[in-house]
């Protein structure tokens, strides 16, 4: 496939750009962007990557890209595509290395004024209690491989059974925090080795725990429906499947490269290696991916309990006094069996979301009882200095994007450029001036993750809202952040 550019796009309306089928593409591409966001991708390869995805066998509907799209490996980040379980393929390049990287939001019963003076201590204690940084290890949770396999089989329910959180939490996690087609037997020893000491750890890069508050409500009825009110203290947890997921992805890229040759797929990019969903290789990848996804669900569940314990410790009160109930937990790197309406009929498909979030509408059977009237809550984190958004899924998103929306802001500066930009700046002090107390495992991560290195998440969220893919409910501002 030759390199494609913005000149290959046909503008449909203010927020929709069609990439017409050409070359070996089996279907059209559709990009949800405005002109501002289009500028950011004009020099990367993400448009070609949307076309490459459209090339894959058995694709159902269009190859989609969310407004935070940028160049990824295989699929673009922000890429969404569905495949027919009988004729279609599954690709690790459509999920990514950090399998089930995701975000969860907790809501407290407290208002920001009630904890403002405790933020420094909360940040210090969260940092002390939650292992962070590259290669961070859990000191208190020793798992043998047999127990680790139970985690991979079960996911968040394993964590709850072990005392990390409560049963009610499970009702507020995508898929109940457990993909039941997981098979730990498909996960390599190397992956198990990498995961063994990393359950209950945050990791590094853009992963974080953030204590914040609701600073703006866009829709009172929806906000009240998901239990949010102005000035309410919230906590966001962003992490994934750690080294275990990275290894699973790497292992299956190797296996599926051979499978691609075996099944005679002519692929435009090695990172798009794939196998028929129904083939032994495809089934094995999906089973291993689900196992890694379950690890990530359990990871966020354990960290949730660590957050609640830290609040107890710092505020000196029982959790009934501060709440911290789970609002919702969403995956943004995943492939899942879902039922969608295709050509007017319900059809089971395998939806790949790579840096994209599921956003199901009100009354959908997969949306928990508590949110049947509002639609599924969606959490879109921004950079550590500005704000994050809470949205809900819509019927239109279901119809146009397999019930998907964006996942974050997206970088605009390379890590090296961020370091250069931050030279002579005291990042911690500058964030403190913005009202955000930050503690990171290393200065390097803090510098690479400066707010200026990211797009304004508001620009991304505006597009999904205006295009109707999801609906804005509330905006959250950070007060304290721990980073890996």
């Amino acid at each position: 496939m030759k390199e494609l550019s913005i000149h290959n796009l046909k503008q449909i309306d203010q927020y929709r750009w069609l990439l017409p089928r050409q070359g070996k593409m089996r279907t059209d591409g559709m990009l949800f962007l405005d002109r501002t966001l289009l500028e950011y991708i004009k020099n990367d390869k993400s448009i070609t990557q949307v076309a490459n995805v459209a090339w894959l066998p058995g694709i159902v509907g269009r190859s989609l890209a969310m407004p935070d799209m940028h160049q990824g490996y295989g699929f673009p980040i922000g890429g969404v595509a569905a495949f027919d379980p009988e004729k279609g393929v599954v690709s690790p390049g459509g999920v990514g290395y950090d399998i089930n990287c995701g975000v969860r939001l907790l809501r407290s019963t407290l208002e920001k004024g009630e904890i403002a003076s405790s933020i420094p201590e909360l940040v210090e204690s969260l940092f002390a209690n939650i292992p962070t940084g590259v290669g961070s290890r859990q000191r208190h949770l020793k798992l043998n491989k047999q127990e680790l396999k139970k985690v991979l089989e079960s996911g968040a329910p394993w964590a709850v059974k072990k005392g990390f959180g409560i049963k009610d939490d499970l009702l507020h996690i995508e898929e109940g925090g457990s993909l039941d087609w997981a098979d730990p037997g498909t996960v390599s020893d190397k992956a198990l080795d990498r995961g063994q000491a990393q359950l209950g750890t945050l990791g590094s890069g853009n992963h974080f725990v953030e204590v914040g508050f609701v600073d703006k409500i866009f829709d009172r009825k929806l906000a009240s429906g998901i239990g949010l009110f102005e000035n309410q203290v919230t906590v966001i947890i962003h992490t994934g499947s750690r080294g275990l997921g990275h290894q699973v992805c790497g292992d299956y890229i190797r296996i599926l490269q051979n499978a691609s040759r075996k099944y005679g797929f002519d692929l435009p990019d090695r990172e798009l290696c794939c196998a028929p969903i129904n083939s032994p290789e495809g089934k094995k990848y999906l089973a291993a991916m689900a196992a890694a996804a379950n690890f990530a669900f359990a990871n966020r569940q354990i960290i949730t309990e660590e957050v609640r314990q830290t609040f107890e410790q710092v505020l000196g009160t029982g959790r009934k006094k501060f709440g911290l109930d789970l609002v919702y937990d969403v995956c943004h790197n995943i492939a899942k069996y879902e039922t969608h309406t295709v050509d007017g009929k319900p059809q089971e498909v395998v939806v790949h979301r790579k840096g994209a979030t599921r956003a199901f509408p009100a009354n959908h059977p997969k949306v928990p009882e508590a949110y049947r009237e509002t639609g599924q809550p969606v959490l879109i984190p921004g950079d550590m200095g500005r704000y994050s958004y809470v949205l809900v899924g819509t019927e239109q998103g279901m119809h146009e994007a397999f019930g998907s929306t964006c996942h974050g802001a997206g970088r605009i500066m390379s890590r090296h450029a961020a370091k250069k930009f931050a030279k002579g700046h005291n990042v911690t002090a500058e964030l403190a001036e913005m009202g955000v107390r930050v503690k990171g495992a290393g200065r390097a991560t803090l510098v690479e993750e400066i707010p200026q290195a990211y797009k304004d998440v508001e620009d991304v969220v505006r597009v999904v809202h205006e295009a109707g893919l999801a609906r804005k409910v509330a905006r959250l501002r950070p007060m304290g952040v721990i980073k890996g």
Binding site: Q71, Y73, V134, G243, R415, H416, G442
Partner: protein
């Protein structure tokens, strides 16, 4: 070895690097050293026993990915930072090497870049200006 024995290739979402070598064996050794330099800054502890690794693959591109992934595995699974290496046997599909390892110490050592994986994205191994050249992108 001079400090600029590799070139960083920049992109907002990626970090890549380029290395050169007169032979493919040298190219792979330099790629590994670049990888160590990008990932860690460690206080050298002096003499330590080398560890033997063997990496196999279907072709030379896969060999590069599997080879560098091995160092990532040693760090992630065992907390061991690779400080130096010597390739003892090299073919397009197999490497046997000695690696000098150091137990990462949170108090003294620094993690410079959180690498999740070595990717095939725009991976290049080939001849350019009478030299072997490799370009590798890392998922961060």
């Amino acid at each position: 070895m001079p400090t600029q024995f590799y070139r960083i290739i920049e992109h907002p979402a990626d970090t890549g690097f380029e290395v050169k070598g007169n032979t493919r064996k040298k190219l792979f050794e330099t790629a590994a050293r670049a990888f160590f330099d990008i990932m860690w800054s460690v206080e050298h502890t002096g003499e330590n026993e080398p560890y033997s690794i063997e990496v196999r693959s279907g072709d030379i591109n896969e060999l590069m990915v599997n080879f560098l992934e091995e160092f990532l595995y040693l760090f992630d699974a065992k907390g061991l930072v690779s400080t130096d290496l010597k390739i003892e046997s090299f073919s397009e599909t197999k490497i046997i090497a000695k690696v000098w390892l150091h137990q990462f110490n949170n108090e003294i050592d620094q993690e410079l870049l959180a690498v999740k994986a070595v990717t095939y994205h725009q991976l290049f191994i080939g001849r350019k200006d009478n030299q072997w050249v490799a370009r590798v992108f890392l998922d961060i």
